[in-house]
């Protein structure tokens, strides 16, 4: 996947292959996943190995990483090691936190690079809901993957008084036009 062919010391290359094979064995990677990774340029392989070791990626997580990294590299005409070397990924990888939190942070950063406009839309939707200030007892859900034109509003209430209070707050947002933003956000790109 690297833009340029690399010249690696044969011994280093052999070491890398051995390390990767050992990782694949340890994590019970399928031959397809392992072969796909092995087919990358040495520098790309090594960069992902460092990341995989740090995050202890298993088969499914690794497949997501392979997909996203290949897709970003092709789209941006860059090397996978350059993608993994970006500041957002490095920060997520090196900040001290639990492995799960680190994995979440790296995946979030990588997904943002892979889906820049979709993640922007998700952020806008979250911000729009927050700005409505309806409280935790009124939930607003956008359609899955933002496909469709329906928004689901869920109320939680323990009595009619609470329900009345939530309804009137919602009515106010509809009347002053601020709720329209929920529908507008669906077309925002």
């Amino acid at each position: 996947m690297s833009a340029q062919n690399e010249i690696l010391d044969p011994k280093d290359l052999k070491d890398l292959e051995a390390q990767l094979a050992a990782y694949a064995q340890r994590k019970h990677l399928s031959p397809a996943t392992s072969d796909r990774w092995q087919a990358w340029q040495a520098g790309d392989r090594a960069a992902l190995l460092t990341c995989a070791e740090e995050l202890q990626l298993g088969e499914n997580q690794l497949k997501d990483f392979l997909d996203w990294l290949e897709e970003i590299a092709l789209r941006d005409e860059t090397a996978i090691q350059a993608v993994l070397g970006q500041r957002e990924i490095r920060t997520a990888l090196t900040t001290r936190r639990s492995r799960n939190d680190k994995l979440k942070a790296v995946k979030t950063a990588l997904r943002k690079m892979r889906y820049p406009r979709l993640t922007q839309l998700e952020a806008s939707a979250r911000a729009a809901v927050k700005a409505l200030d309806l409280g935790r007892s009124v939930q607003i859900l956008f359609p899955p993957a933002f496909e469709g034109d329906e928004i689901t509003v869920t109320f939680h209430a323990r009595n009619t008084q609470e329900l009345q209070e939530r309804l009137s707050r919602l009515q106010q947002r509809v009347d002053d036009g601020s709720f329209q933003r929920m529908f507008d956000v669906l077309d925002e790109v």
Binding site: I72, L74, R75, R117, L118, L121, E147
Partner: protein, 372 residues
């Protein structure tokens, strides 16, 4: 690039059929084998690493033993459909577009098959359309193959065009990415045949549509066909989202409508790139350098990955706005889209599938073509 098979296989008993004779006359240098009808099931091509690609290079003439006429499979529940019918005289395509659904659909029988019993197909169509003279039909041959890419070898146009020219309640659509139009030029379709081209910006066509005619050649072919009296159509399907899509599609549309007379364009369709998870996997294997998997696609309710809705609606709106400027009289429709997307793009959603079909089968279409 003209298709050349590595081997011709003929089902025993079909050697003398007109289509076989026509092909053999053009491919005299290609080795020929006579095989039994179930030859393909022996899995001859299976040993190849790329069985699908290898299948394209074997040309197998055989009889179609099941129905020819089918509803277009795009009519999926939850999506607006245009009531299109398809017939397949050929199964698999000599071209090799990276995004082609046939890679998955024909994965188990990829040999390029040509059906020899054309008369049976025409009889089947006649039975359906002649029984309902009040109904307007649209029938296409471009579902399981390119309609024209092999016509220089097979000459199917000379069977199809006169048949459709003699009926006024059915339109034939020949859908292609080729420039193999010579056989059409001398035929009088009586306005009952629309020749349509699938178009993408040249940069995408060059990178992803392997073995097809270039954008320029397709456009030149469309112009020649239009000059010969046919109405033409254009399909921006798949619509590809890539970093420079706006410039790419704007230039493409401008080039189309500076070359083609919009008054004699039957329709334009738009359809987002849609890929099943299996097709994505196949594309990754067969075309590891494709950039089409790098778009911002999401998994939709019908199990296909598409560019996420807000972005594809923006693309549809942008293209329809340009089309309104360049060719305001041309009907534009979308393929395999939901009612909410129709609403967002056109400000209306068809009441039923027949609404879309009706707008594409104007009864005076033939007259319009006859008197340009």
């Amino acid at each position: 690039m003209m298709y050349q098979p590595t081997e011709i296989l003929i089902e025993r008993g079909e050697e003398k059929t007109p289509v076989v004779q026509r092909a053999l006359a053009k491919l005299a240098h290609v080795p020929v084998r006579i095989v039994e009808k179930d030859w393909e099931r022996a899995g001859v091509q299976a040993e190849s690493k790329d069985a699908f690609g290898a299948g394209k290079r074997q040309l197998f003439f055989t009889r179609q033993r099941s129905r020819f006429l089918e509803h277009c499979p795009a009519g999926t529940p939850g999506l607006v459909c245009c009531n299109y019918l398809v017939v397949s005289l050929i199964s698999n395509c000599p071209m090799d577009c990276s995004y082609c659904f046939l890679q998955e659909y024909l994965a188990n029988n990829p040999v390029l098959k040509v059906f020899t019993n054309v008369d049976d197909m025409l009889a089947e169509i006649a039975k359906v359309v002649d029984r309902q003279p009040w109904r307007q039909f649209r029938i296409g041959t471009g579902e399981l193959s390119d309609s024209l890419a092999l016509d220089h070898l097979l000459g199917f146009c000379s069977d199809l065009v006169p048949f459709f020219a003699s009926r006024n309640n059915v339109l034939l659509e020949l859908k292609t990415k080729s420039d193999c139009i010579d056989n059409l030029l001398s035929l009088d379709s009586q306005g009952r045949v629309v020749v349509s081209w699938t178009l993408t910006p040249a940069v995408i066509a060059d990178a992803e549509e392997h073995g097809t005619a270039s954008f320029t050649d397709r456009l030149r072919a469309a112009q020649r066909v239009q000059n010969a009296g046919y109405k033409v159509g254009f399909h921006f399907d798949p619509l590809i989202e890539y970093p420079e899509w706006e410039t790419g599609y704007q230039q493409t549309l401008e080039q189309v409508f500076t070359t083609i007379d919009p008054r004699r364009v039957a329709w334009v369709s738009l359809g987002s790139l849609r890929l099943t998870p299996t097709l994505r996997k196949i594309m990754r294997q067969r075309f590891p350098r494709t950039r089409l998997l790098s778009g911002e696609q999401v998994l939709c309710a019908d199990g296909k990955w598409r560019t996420f809705q807000a972005l594809r609606v923006k693309m549809y709106r942008t293209l329809t706005a340009w089309l309104n400027e360049l060719a305001p009289q041309v009907p534009v429709y979308m393929c395999m889209e939901t009612a909410p997307v129709w609403q967002k793009v056109f400000g209306r959603s068809p009441m039923c599938d027949k609404d879309v079909a009706r707008s594409l089968t104007a009864p005076n279409l033939g007259q319009q073509i006859a008197a340009p």
